[in-house]
Structure formats: C-alpha cells, structure tokens
Assembly symmetry: none
Amino acid sequence: MKEITAEIITIGDEILYGQIVDTNSQWMSGELSDAGIKTIRKTTVGDVPEDILQSFSEAEGRADIILITGGLGPTKDDLTKPLLAEYFNSPLIINEEALAEVKDFFERRGRELTALNKMQAELPEVCTKITNRMGTAPGMWFEKDGKVFVSMPGVPIEMKTIMLEEVIPKLHLVFNTPVIYHKMIKTIGIGESFLSEIIETWEDNLPENIKLAYLPSAGQVKLRLTAKGDVLSKLIEAVDQQIEKLKPLAGKYIYGYDKTYLPSAIGQLLRENGLTISTAESCTGGFLAHQITSVPGSSDYFQGSILSYADEVKRSELNVSKQSLTEHGAVSEIVAVQMAENVRKRLGTSIGLSTTGIAGPDGGSEEKPVGTVWIGYSDENGSFARKSQLTTDRLLNIQLTANIALNILRVEMLKIIALE
Amino acid sequence: MKEITAEIITIGDEILYGQIVDTNSQWMSGELSDAGIKTIRKTTVGDVPEDILQSFSEAEGRADIILITGGLGPTKDDLTKPLLAEYFNSPLIINEEALAEVKDFFERRGRELTALNKMQAELPEVCTKITNRMGTAPGMWFEKDGKVFVSMPGVPIEMKTIMLEEVIPKLHLVFNTPVIYHKMIKTIGIGESFLSEIIETWEDNLPENIKLAYLPSAGQVKLRLTAKGDVLSKLIEAVDQQIEKLKPLAGKYIYGYDKTYLPSAIGQLLRENGLTISTAESCTGGFLAHQITSVPGSSDYFQGSILSYADEVKRSELNVSKQSLTEHGAVSEIVAVQMAENVRKRLGTSIGLSTTGIAGPDGGSEEKPVGTVWIGYSDENGSFARKSQLTTDRLLNIQLTANIALNILRVEMLKIIALE
C-alpha cells in the first residue's frame, strides 16, 4: 500500500524567534499518525512572503498532504491567505457562507462586525471553505494534482476543532490510509545503552511491520513500538505478543505503558495495596514529595514529609543520632537509613523513603564528590540505603535522585505485594 | 550590516510523530535572537537518511548557520553522525580527546564503557569536537564556504550547556553580528493588564530603538526591553535610563533583572540580612521548599520543612490545635497562621512560611472551592495569613501558591530590612 505523507508548515515570526513554543505541530502529527498518515517533515517560516511561497512549493514536491497553520488572523502581519490566492492563482472573493458564519459568531457574542473581520470571509475562489466553530478565520481546503493543501488558524483550540471535526474525516475520504498502532513501554532503572544490549536479540527479531525507537529522559527510557498494517486488532495482538517476549528480558524495568506517569503508577500500587508513605528529604529539598503529590488524590496514601536540610533538623525532627552525623557525616548510609526508618515511625506510615546527598554545585569533597547521594528505604520488614554517583548539575541531581528513589519504592513494593 | 541568519534542523521520528514537543528549537531561536542572529527557518525531519541529507543541503542554500539537534545517541536509530560524515565526505575516526571524555564520564559514575558508548567518540575527521559536559555524545562543528554547521545531542540539558558554553561564543567570533542589548525586568504581584495600565505613558514614550515585550508566566510578568544600535555602552545607558523612569511607577513589583530567579533573589535577601527560614506545607506538597532549595547554597538560610499532608501530621508535627481543625477546617486562616508560627518556633528560624489549600481537581466544596488557598507568614514581629482564589488546575495551583508565598516573603523581608 502506498504510504500517505504529510508536511506541516507553521507560519509566524513569534514561533521562529522563540517567543512561543509550537505545540500545534506536535499535536497535529500525533493525530495524523493515529489516522495512518506519516508526517515526513515540519517546517516553520516567518512572516516573509517569499519564504512562505517557497515552503508551499517545496512541500508540494514532497508530501501528499500539506497542512498549514498560522497567519490567518485579522491583522496586517497575517499573510497566509493572500499568498495562497497567489500560489493557486485564484482571486480572493467574498464567500457568502463564510460571511454568514463570521456575522453569526459576532452576533452570538453581542459584538459588532468590523471591516477587518468582514475581510476574513474573503477566500480564494478555488478553495473549499472549512467552518471554524471556535473563531472567525475560516479554514481553507485546496486540491491540486492529487495533493491536498489545508490552511488553518494558529490558535490551538480553533486548529484542533477544525482538524478533528473537518480535516481528518475528509482526509480519510480522499486518501486510502493504512492503519498504524503505537505502544509506548516505559522503563526505569536502566540506561539506554544497557537496555539496548539486553534486548538486542529481541529487537533484531521484531517483525518487519513493527519498528522500535528509544526515547531517553532523566533516569528513564521509553521504548516506542510502531506497527503498520490493515487491521487494528491484528496490530494490537502482534504488539502485545512482542511485549510478552520482552518481559522476560526487561520486565523488571517496565513500570507502565503509554501515558502512565511514574508517580501515578506508584500511587496506584500504594492505593491498591493499602500502603501509606512518608518521606524524609535532604538533598531533594521537597522535590520527591512534590513528585508524589503532583498526582490528584495522593492524600490517600501520602501522609507528609520531614524536610531536614540542616543537621539540627535531622537530629531534632528525625532523631538521627549525633554519633552517626559526626562519625559518618550527613551524606552516609547510616543517616539515610535512620531518616527513612524514623520518618516512617514518626508519621506512622507503612513505608519511609529518604534522600541525603550533595546536589552541588558546591559542597563536594574528594571522598564525597558532588553528585554523591544516599537513598534510604524502610518498611516493617527492614531498612536499607543505596548509594548513587550522579552528575555535577544541581537540578538534574535533584530530579535523578527523586526518580531513583521512586524506582526503589516501586521495586520494594512489588516485593511486599509478592509476599502477601 | 549584513544580517546573519540561522536554520534549525531537528532530527527524530519522535518529534515528527508528535510523541514529544520540540522545546529545544524554541529555546535555541531565543538564544540566537539574543546574540543578534535571525532564525529564518526551522525544519524537522524523521530518521530517514535521504530526508536528513536533503535538509542539510537545503539549509546550506538558505542560512549562514545550520544548527542540528538529535540523532546522536548510542543506539541504532541514531543517524546524524554517519550522515554528516557522508555530507562532508569525511571518514569517521576515533577522536582521542572525545574518547577520553566519554571514558571519564563513565568512570565518574562507576560504570563500564560499552562498545556502543565507545563508538560515540568516532567523529568525522574534518569536524571540530565540541565537549559535552552533561552527556556522552560530543557535539560537532563544521565550516564550509563561510557557513557553519553545528550538530548537538537532542537531550535538552546537554544541548543547552553546549549552546551556552561553546556554540554561542564561537559564533560571535566567526560572524560579525549587530549589537543587540536585552534587559529583562522581572515583576511579581501584579497581572499583565494592570501592569500595562500603570506603565502605559512610559511605554508610549520609549525611544524608537527600544522595544518592549510582555512575557507573562504563572504569577509573574517579565518585561523585556530590546535595544538595537552600534555601540553596546550607549544601548546599556539608554536602557538603564528607561528603567530609572519605570521605577517610580512599578518599582515595588520588580524583584530583579535578567536571569535573576525569584528564589535566588529571595535567598540573597535572606543571606544578606542574616535571616533563616522554614516552611510548613500542605497543598504545595514540597514544591515551595523545592523552589527555595533549587538555589545553590540555600542551606545557608533554609533549615527545613514540615510537610503535613495529613491532618494528623498537622497536629502531631506542627501542633495545630484540634479545635482549629474541627471548627475551621485545614484550609483556614487560623490553621495557616498556626502552621507558619509553629514551624518557625520548632525549627528555630527567623521566618516561617506556610501553605494550606485545595489544589484540586477534587476536594472542593461550595464554601471552599478548588483553588482556595491560605498562605501563612510568621516572624518575631507577628503572624498573619492571606487568602487567594486560584484556578481549577492542580499543578498550576501548586506553582501559583508557591509564587505568591515567595512574594509575601519578599515584601515582608523588605519591611524587616527597612525597620533595621
């Protein structure tokens, strides 16, 4: 089957100069992908007529579908419409239906139609008008030699409504699109290169129609499987089979699939097993608790945290022994263990989790360089602490420490659950 | 003066297919703009060799500087490096300096170098290696017929470090860029539209070569002045003059300039005045402490925090009275005051700051809807709490609450300092 391809063109100085992030094109390519259409390129150009026209003709040479956003507002710096008229050699004329819609839009809001807004109903004669329920600038649909050009406003809610209600259904009618199925496998506790080594044979034996991609971020690696075919149910089945084959190799690193968020996955494990948690944080400075409490409903299992930045607070609020602090220092196994154990007892939770380390950029020594971190864990079966040697970047160290702590929690919870 | 132009090429299926947002290119074009370089196009292509090579030659035909990110990791789907070798017709050879850096990176983490990682030190012979302090894939710098190609990893922290420390300074040396001077004025405690009203006349009277932009974010508004000319010292002087005129109008909302980060500005005030602080958090769940401790050296003034998510913890660890909790609820003025006062006394700090509220999305009532937040403040002169009615979005509420709390702290500290 011939692959249907798309190029997304985003128009506007504000995106080129970095004043706003282009989230539109990300959303659009996701929707296209779900519709079996492959985005082959994204292009952003500024409010410069020659650059815009050049991007149209380049895209026409590459893709079947050209989706254009931006440059349709009522102000002078909006150029897309006159340039499309020029590109398709078609005069701008008042589209009566579009005019009625713009009028209606203003009437419903009790506002008066300005001359500028009236101009928004002028469209190139050859195009088909696309209704914009959420705004005043209509979308435009052009067909030329088997290719489709669609122009939409850049306002996200307007673009999204037009895409979902008008453009995607029309593209399905015009093109004979294949079925594509994506599955994201989320792992933690293993680096990209180590993961790729242990799953190498599995990767090499993936069927022709299933592709794998690695998406690493701080302390985590996502594996994306993309399957292509004719029947969705068969693709889902084929991908599930591959995941079952992957599990014996890397199952212990997998914490979830698709949009699963690590703190949510952990929250679910806590809630389902009637477990509660408290934290005792030093180097993470509240970030670990923030991760846990970023999940709605986390008050079901999270009781609180003692944030002991100063050693006095470690002693007074967490009963860390003076001897341990003097002999081993605040960044040590024994202090991490005492923090985890004592916060658990003090706040009466099933599990206590602690962090103590040197986040940096200062405070390191030869023996304990910046990035030295101890993470403590405690439940009724026992307590322990684990050391990590991280980076020299303060914020990255804070994030990595929280991620490693959450993964220790995840792994230990699975042990508790297995025992029950 | 000839305008220096740049094109940004982003490589990777994960961006084309919409699985991640391309925030890199937004950040890059902002930095380029600050350096007087105009971004004229952004292009995203997938992991397809022909498309990548085509994007190189197209960009070379348009821009002076071609910045490439992505496709430099250790796994098989990373294509950029071999394609650059092909494009510049230069063999890949082991770069001994790069190899030493990769080895060192792994040694510091106590991990073994894999064959895949070793391959990361292979670079096209004609390129200049760019050190990547934050990761294992080096950047690459190519020069050809007066044009510069730079290839960087796609991991944001790696790309940003390379851009700021290596690429921007080198571009300044190679190209003769116009003089542009930016000054960012950072305000808190006033909304965009109110601010624009009180400074309207000032704005209308700005000189021709100084432009103003409003950049609002959660609870803050940044004013960016951009001056363009020939002599830097004159631009600085002209901008400073305008800021002096602005101060009588909006001075009390200004907490800093340029890269000043609110928690850093507050940290400096605390340190300079020998003040210490502790927090008692409920609805912010650790985010307020995380903001404070994200600043290097914050252990000088931050002692710790009691994170009392559960009411039992508010009682046991913060001595909030049972009567207050029963009669007024956890989200109330009296509880916020008790939290701030008691954490200050308990941890022995000059100032105590507290948050209690309904972050959402659930837990609201008619009397106390989602977004109801009380922020408490306490120092030796007294204690109080202030109410805010925020949004229905959990994460935004957490951020806004922390920002408002930090601003209350800032304003109160200025009062303490004025008294001394």
